[in-house]
């Protein structure tokens, strides 16, 4: 029996040893990296930017300004202004997470550490691009207290715009700093500009001009600031900041993915937009088909590899035109309008065109040029142009979206949907429609 006892002890001992061999501490996730270089973060941010500007928000805004229409399924109630805090499935949160503010700030920290002014400037322009869009759509947003934990407060929209102008000024000076110790650039990782600091600087000026435009309804002096900024902005369509797509799986134009691959038939081109553009030289840039079967251009605008615009020379030049009009410099306005027209085969404007008809012409071109861009909605909110007839009688054209439910339920500083304002601070309702000779505004 003694041997039995011994062997029992031996077996138990062996098994305890087996146990001790096991390593219970998990330090490595075999599926995910724990470090990231600036270029890896840059690509993440640039891709996220494509999604911010090219996915659901652009489709919603196109429907609100009646460039697009919801035809079936969930897009009918959305088209008819049935908006809830879940309408966008979390688009507002996206500005802070995955490729949003958290990663662009991480990128900035890394390149600041390296002493790379130019790269820092680029990353600061990226930050302004995403945050200004969020402020355009949601108004007051978390910005100054963002990413610091706790329950951050909403900053007033106009303050955010002001902060972003300062950030862009810093970005411009960083981009101008050619003597920094470690200047580099994202290079080929930057699919749009190849890391060209001058192109990023032009983008920064264009964005400054756009933000000033979005401030101008409550602060008309901003038109002049916009005018000045636009002159240093993107003036050549080859320098447009657009999202580039290879067309491979997960790398295709988001509108194409939506209208062809994922949700065919759910949205289409609005008759209103078709009527406006039917005989316009830019028709083929955006649409195809005739009066019974018009649709998104499958070769130019919504092909798998069509770039999606984020900031363009078209917009910048038309900002120049409008800001000249705003200071009553009609000849200058016409010059810029013709500069835009020359890019797209649009005949020159008659020399005598002044006043409201001239503004109407400028705003019409901009409304067309910004097809499916969220800025078209911001412009509508500012100008009530075009003078849209609301698709649901008795309701106004939506002027903002609700904060995401996730954000509202985790941050007590975000008000309940019922307590959120209908309009943002930069956008009091217009009494009349700009460019329409004092006609009453129908949709605000």
């Amino acid at each position: 029996m003694k041997t039995s006892k011994l062997s029992t002890a031996a077996a138990l001992g062996l098994s305890l040893t087996l146990g001790a061999c096991m390593d219970l501490e998990t330090t490595v996730d075999p599926n995910r990296p724990t470090t990231a270089s600036p270029n890896l973060l840059f690509v993440g941010v640039q891709t996220a930017m494509a999604s911010f500007y090219g996915s659901d928000l652009s489709r919603l805004s196109a429907m609100f300004v009646q460039q697009a229409i919801g035809l079936t399924s969930q897009y009918i109630p959305i088209y008819e202004y049935g908006i809830t805090e879940n309408t966008t499935n979390g688009q507002q949160n996206m500005f802070y997470i995955q490729g949003g503010l958290v990663d662009v700030r991480r990128l900035q920290a890394q390149v600041r550490e390296l002493g790379d002014s130019n790269y820092l400037g680029i990353a600061q322009v990226q930050e302004a691009l995403m945050m200004s869009l969020e402020a355009d759509v949601y108004g007051d947003i978390v910005y100054r207290e963002a990413l610091q934990g706790g329950n951050p407060n909403l900053d007033p929209q106009m303050q955010v715009y002001g902060d972003l102008q300062l950030l862009l000024d810093t970005a411009i000076s960083n981009l101008n700093n050619t003597t920094a110790p470690a200047n580099s650039s994202p290079g080929a990782a930057d699919l749009v500009y190849g890391g060209d600091r001058l192109k990023w600087r032009a983008l920064a000026y264009s964005l400054k001009a756009r933000i000033y435009m979005n401030m101008a309804e409550v602060n008309p002096a901003a038109y002049e600031l916009a005018r000045v900024a636009a002159l240093s902005g993107i003036r050549d369509p080859d320098d447009d900041y657009v999202s580039i797509y290879s067309g491979n799986g997960g790398e295709a134009n988001l509108l194409f993915q939506f209208i062809v691959e994922q949700r065919a038939g759910q949205i289409g081109v609005n008759q209103f937009f078709f009527n406006l553009i039917e005989n316009h030289p830019r028709y083929a840039d955006f649409l195809e088909g005739g009066s019974t079967d018009f649709t998104y251009s499958s070769t130019e605008f919504a092909a798998k590899t069509s770039p999606q615009p984020i900031m363009t020379a078209d917009e910048t030049i038309l900002i120049s035109a409008e800001t000249e009009w705003r200071r009553n410099q009609y000849p200058n306005a016409r010059t810029f309008l013709d500069e835009y027209g020359a890019l797209h085969g649009i005949p020159a404007v008659p020399a005598g065109l002044v006043g409201q008809p001239l503004l109407n012409r400028i705003l019409t071109e901009k409304y067309i040029a910004l097809f499916h861009q969220i800025q078209a909605w911001s412009d509508y909110k500012r100008t009530c142009f075009p003078n849209l007839v609301p698709v649901t009688t008795g309701m106004d054209v939506p002027a903002r979206l609700f904060y995401d439910a996730n954000e509202r339920s985790t941050n007590p500083n975000i008000p309940d949907p019922n307590s959120q304002p209908a309009r943002n601070a930069n956008d009091p309702p217009n009494a009349t429609s700009d460019g329409n000779a004092g006609a009453a505004c129908l949709g605000q």
């Binding site: 096991m22 049935g82 499935n89 691959e261």
Partner: protein
């Protein structure tokens, strides 16, 4: 025809084989022959009773007439006295002593008294421990092989458990071959994973995950694609001897941090003492759809009463059935019916088993083939399994065993669910005027559907908007092939009289080859794709226990168990997502333009120690206590080990009562009280780590997305979920008490249990403020969930005579599941489980898995919508009424709220069986669930498309909203209550196209009560008298069985089936009905031959 002939040939071969074996086994004159008959006290023969000569390894099974014969070889009969024992589940065993004199012939009959609570039977309590039932202080429900056999559900052992035990909620996704079944015991204690129990087969934990082939986040796994199996379905139900359901924490605590959802212990058959027994069972079944969706067949495709005509190639403008009435004489089609056929199932099972004093063996092979209920060749499921279980005593003190099970399953599946290439979505939305059977265009030969009626040449990569269901049925691209080995070796060593050491080392390994492909012109992805996934899972389990026993004196004895458990689980998933087919065929990766690979690995290790002490006082008081200490690699490094204690007490209070005996009114009584703690490890193996991700898909919730890497430039982003290095297991503390009594001269037994289970530290993928943290979620031990309930089982044997035996059993369970706290959040949503507007959630104050969505404005909610004070418009005293505005219509309430609780409040199973003349047995089972709600999204969508039969209401005019919604809302108020809203077919159409249909905002209107009673099983078994098969000689027993499953469903639910769930067992959330495939009714014939 060929198929029928081939299996008949197979049967013939088996018969010949069995018959030829019959010549073996001649007895010799010096042998001792023991003959006898085992009967119940009523005199009814007890077939299947086993009779053994203790210590000799000899025995026999009684035939259906109760007779048995044991032959003791002359060499082993030395005139010794041995104990002969007869036992049968449900009866008290009896023994007697006989003397074995060479050449003698002994007659030994047994009359067994029924054993209502199965006292004295051994129950496996887990991790190598076992006890006898009268000592148990917690509920363990046992389902034995006869009940599993009766369930005639050869595909899925989980499905076979429905209605068998209280508070065991089993749901089968659909009647499709290979569909999953989910099981939940005593509600949802956790917020993550699917809350299904741990499955353990013969001591080896096995995998029961349900995993979609397409795991891309944008595909919302479970929503679309094809059905996936719950992997426990690989176990052949024919192999199973019994299943123990460990429900409460005290019962399951021995499994520590893996047991919070309970444990299902499966024990497979082993060779029984006695001559080798061969059994062949063949089961053939026919399956039909229980119900097809009620559709209108009167109105054609179109809008505003004008029928749509497709005049040009590639036309695609119409989508709904709001056209004119179909002219008399023009064809009209019922698209809900034409896609189905009668399916069939064939199951063959052969087992050979036996045992002597040193060796027991059991060999079995099973083959099941199911040809599903959908038209076409692409819904099939086959499972082949073999099992060998052997045990040999190599030394008087050492027993070695091995148990090897190999399984091969293969299937072909049909696209389902929320999927424009899914079967029912396209089928049911098709207006009756369109002929779906003509699914290829006569000119171009390409796929045509009602929304794309005239595909032109070259349109092979254009979307059909919705697929033609016959095109879907002919897609052969969805397949799976799995090989799995579950095996273990055991050693049982008795080094000392009082010490028993048991060791087992086992593994469960599978490799699952999956393919999901859509051909070109599929609406879901018109350029086609091929997704290939390999799932590879390995679990190794080492379990060592030592049990010591000591008898302190005549009245007190004790047992101490010490154990160690080491376990590793390695899971790998490799997916290659090939997009854009080059040529239409084949469905192979090299035929795609771009391939996105993704790989997921997870490794978990466990190192645990446990002990359990059992003390017995005066044969009536049983105290048990134990502790398990768990170290899991998934716990945070700040505190890697955690303890799970348990204690229980059972008191057989009738033990010493003189007035209690077998013939008194009360025959037995036991009170019990148990407390235990169990845990749940973090669902995510790497939740403790903060890292970047390479795999984010950036886009919207509508399927458009971008990978981070673009044009060959790699990128990373932050993870959506922040890591948490303090992660601990979830902990469930459960107190349960109850009693078991047997009464009415043992004709009845009653068990009652009440429990209170509080789960704390529940891991929450807690939403965190994105703007504050840059992430959406963080895993946190932050939530609290409560489950309270009662369980009642009552078994009656009103008639027990030698001619007729009648049993009735009831099992009733009630569970109330409430989310107590979510770390300050009001709710979390399961974003991949359901839809915006009917999404699974955990909401404080509601059950886990409650659906959230939107309602119309109701009175008494203090709503102000668009500046209108709803309550003021309602008037006083109208709480809960639907508000109708001045236009006669209700108003959308923009606040999201809980709209449905899909968890049943009560479950009731009623089973009864009648045995007549010991030959014919009728048995039946009713399965009832009440208090659950389902969101009928299918109905919502079909109202919108004008194909639901209910849209015939379009013919009525002058109808108010109050009248239309009278079945949905309790009462109505507001200025427009009496205004007729529907005055023309176009009014109806516009309402259904807008807020009255499934694509509007208001999901609450499609929530239905889904109480149901299902007539699960009815079977008639006939034990054929020996005289009819004497000429075949070989058989000791022939059983014929005729049975039906899901014969009838009593429910008011308007959809296909109240058990349906879009995500099947893959989701925690149940009760989402969105174009899932239907359930089936089956008729089965089975013949079982035993020698």
């Amino acid at each position: 025809m060929i198929r029928v002939r081939s299996w008949l040939t197979g049967v013939g071969a088996i018969l010949v084989m069995l018959a030829s074996i019959s010549g073996v086994g001649l007895s010799q004159s010096e042998d001792v022959t023991i003959r006898g008959r085992v009967t119940a006290e009523s005199g009814a023969p007890l077939g299947g009773a086993s009779v053994v000569l203790e210590g000799m390894g000899l025995g026999a099974q009684a035939g259906e007439d109760g007779r048995f014969t044991i032959v003791v070889p002359a060499s082993r009969a030395t005139g010794q006295t041995v104990t002969i024992m007869a036992r049968l589940i449900g009866y008290s065993s009896k023994s007697s002593t006989i003397t074995l004199t060479k050449g003698s012939s002994i007659t030994q009959d047994f009359s067994l008294s029924s054993n209502p609570l199965r006292l004295g039977e051994v129950v496996v309590t887990g991790a190598g421990t076992e006890t006898t039932r009268e000592k148990l202080a917690n509920v363990i429900n046992t389902v034995d092989s006869s009940l599993i056999k009766r369930a005639i559900e050869p595909q899925n052992v989980v499905a076979a458990l429905s209605g068998k035990a209280p508070n065991v909620d089993v749901r089968t996704q659909s009647g499709e071959p290979g569909a999953s079944s989910s099981i939940k015991i005593r509600g949802n204690p956790s917020l993550s994973g699917t809350n299904q129990p741990l499955f353990v087969v013969d001591g080896q934990p096995i995998d029961n995950q349900t995993i979609s082939t397409n795991q891309s986040p944008s595909a919302y796994p479970g929503n679309a694609g094809v059905v996936s199996q719950n992997r426990a379905a690989d176990i052949n139900p024919n192999d199973i001897e019994s299943i123990e359901i460990l429900k409460g924490a005290a019962a399951a605590a021995i499994y520590g941090a893996r047991a919070a959802n309970g444990v299902i212990l499966i024990t497979t058959k082993k060779g029984k003492t006695g001559p080798t027994q061969i059994n062949f069972t063949m089961t053939a079944g026919w399956d039909r759809v229980i119900k097809t969706y009620p559709l209108q067949t009167k109105y054609a495709m179109g809008q505003d009463g004008i029928s749509y005509v497709c005049s040009v190639v590639n036309c695609s403008s119409g989508n709904a059935a709001w056209g004119a009435a179909i002219a008399p004489g023009d064809p009209s089609y019922n698209h809900g019916k034409e896609i189905f056929k009668t399916g069939n199932t064939l199951d063959n099972y052969l087992s050979i088993g036996g045992a002597n004093d040193r060796t027991a063996f059991f060999l079995a092979g099973g083959w099941t083939r199911q040809d599903g209920i959908m038209q076409g060749p692409n819904n099939k499921y086959t499972r082949t399994s073999i099992r060998a279980k052997v045990n040999h005593q190599i030394h008087p003190l050492l027993n070695l065993g091995a148990n090897i099970n190999y399984i091969d399953t293969r299937g072909r599946y049909v696209q389902k669910g929320s999927n424009t290439s899914g079967l029912l979505l396209g089928a049911l939305r098709t207006p009756p005027s369109f002929n779906n059977r003509q699914y290829l265009d006569t000119i171009s030969g390409l796929h045509r559907s009602y929304r794309f009626q005239r595909p032109g040449l070259g349109s092979n990569t254009l979307s059909r908007l919705y697929d033609n269901p016959f095109f879907v049925l002919n897609n052969s691209g969805n397949k799976s092939e799995l090989g799995r080995a579950i095996s273990n070796v055991t050693a049982d060593w008795n080094p000392l009289q009082w010490l028993d050491v048991r060791y087992s080392l086992g593994s469960d390994y599978y490799a699952d080859w999956r393919q999901e492909a859509l051909p070109q012109s599929s609406s879901n992805y018109p350029t086609g794709y091929v997704i290939r996934t390999d799932l590879n899972n390995l679990q190794i389990d080492h379990n060592l226990i030592a049990v010591g026993r000591h008898q302190f004196n005549d009245n007190i004895s004790g047992e101490l168990t010490l154990g160690q458990n080491l376990n590793t689980r390695r899971f790998r998933r490799n997916t290659l997502d090939g997009r854009n087919l080059i040529a239409p065929q084949p469905f192979a990766l090299q035929n795609t333009v771009s391939i996105i690979p993704s790989e997921f690995r997870s490794n978990r290790t466990i190192e645990s120690y446990f002990f359990q002490g059992d003390v017995e006082f005066y044969n009536q008081l049983f105290l048990s206590f134990g502790l398990r200490n768990d170290g899991f690699s998934t716990f945070g490094s700040s505190k890697p080990r955690h303890n799970f204690p348990k204690a229980s007490l059972a008191w057989n209070f009738t033990e010493n009562m003189a007035s209690v005996n077998e013939s008194s009114f009360i025959n037995f009584g036991k009170l019990r009280l148990a407390y235990g703690e169990t845990g749940k490890e973090p669902e995510n193996a790497y939740g403790t780590i903060d890292a970047f991700t390479l795999e984010a898909q950036l886009g919207s919730g509508w399927g458009d997305f971008l990978n981070i890497a673009q044009s060959g430039q790699g990128g990373v982003t932050s993870s959506l979920v922040k890591g948490n290095s303090n992660l601990r297991p979830e902990r469930s503390k459960e107190l349960e008490g109850g009693f078991d009594i047997a009464f009415w001269q043992q004709r009845a037994d009653l068990g009652f249990t009440i429990y209170n289970k509080r789960s704390t530290d529940v891991i929450l993928t807690a939403p965190i403020s994105a703007s504050a943290t840059g992430a959406l979620y963080q895993l946190a031990n932050a939530a609290e969930v409560s489950n309270k309930g009662v369980e009642l089982t009552l078994n009656l044997r009103p008639i027990t005579t030698d001619k007729v035996e009648w049993n009735v059993g009831f099992n009733f369970g009630q569970n109330k599941n409430v989310v107590k706290s979510l770390a300050g959040a009001e709710f979390i949503t399961y974003t991949t489980e359901g839809f915006n507007g009917a999404i699974g959630s955990a909401t404080v104050g509601h059950a886990v898995g409650s659906l959230r969505g939107y309602d119309f404005a109701r009175c008494g909610r203090g709503l102000i919508i668009g500046g209108v004070d709803i309550d003021a418009g309602c008037g006083a005293g109208k709480e809960g009424a639907l508000y109708i505005d001045a236009s006669g219509a209700p108003v959308v309430d923009p606040s999201e709220r809980v709209i449905a609780d899909p968890n049943p409040k009560y479950t009731l199973g009623i089973n009864t069986s009648v045995r007549i003349n010991s030959r014919i047995t009728f048995s039946t089972l009713l399965d009832m669930r009440r208090g659950l709600s389902i969101w009928n999204g299918t109905r919502g969508a079909l109202l919108r498309f004008g194909t639901d039969e209910a849209t015939l209401i379009r013919e009525r005019t002058g109808v108010t909203m109050a009248e239309y919604y009278k079945d949905v809302y309790p009462s109505f108020a507001g200025p427009g209550v009496n205004i007729p809203y529907f005055n023309s077919p176009i009014d109806w159409q516009n309402w259904f196209l807008g807020q009255g249909g499934g694509f509007g905002d208001v999901t609450q209107q499609f929530v239905e009560k889904a109480n149901f009673v299902k007539w699960r099983e009815l079977s008639v078994t006939y034990n054929v008298p020996t005289k009819y098969f004497q000429r075949l000689g070989a058989f000791s027993n022939v059983d014929l069985r005729l049975s039906g499953r899901n014969l009838h469903t009593w429910t008011k639910y308007k959809g296909l089936d109240p058990e349906t769930n879009l995500g099947g067992a893959e989701w925690l959330t149940q009760g989402v009905d969105f174009f899932g495939n239907p359930q089936t009714r089956s008729f089965v014939f089975s013949i079982s031959l035993t020698r």
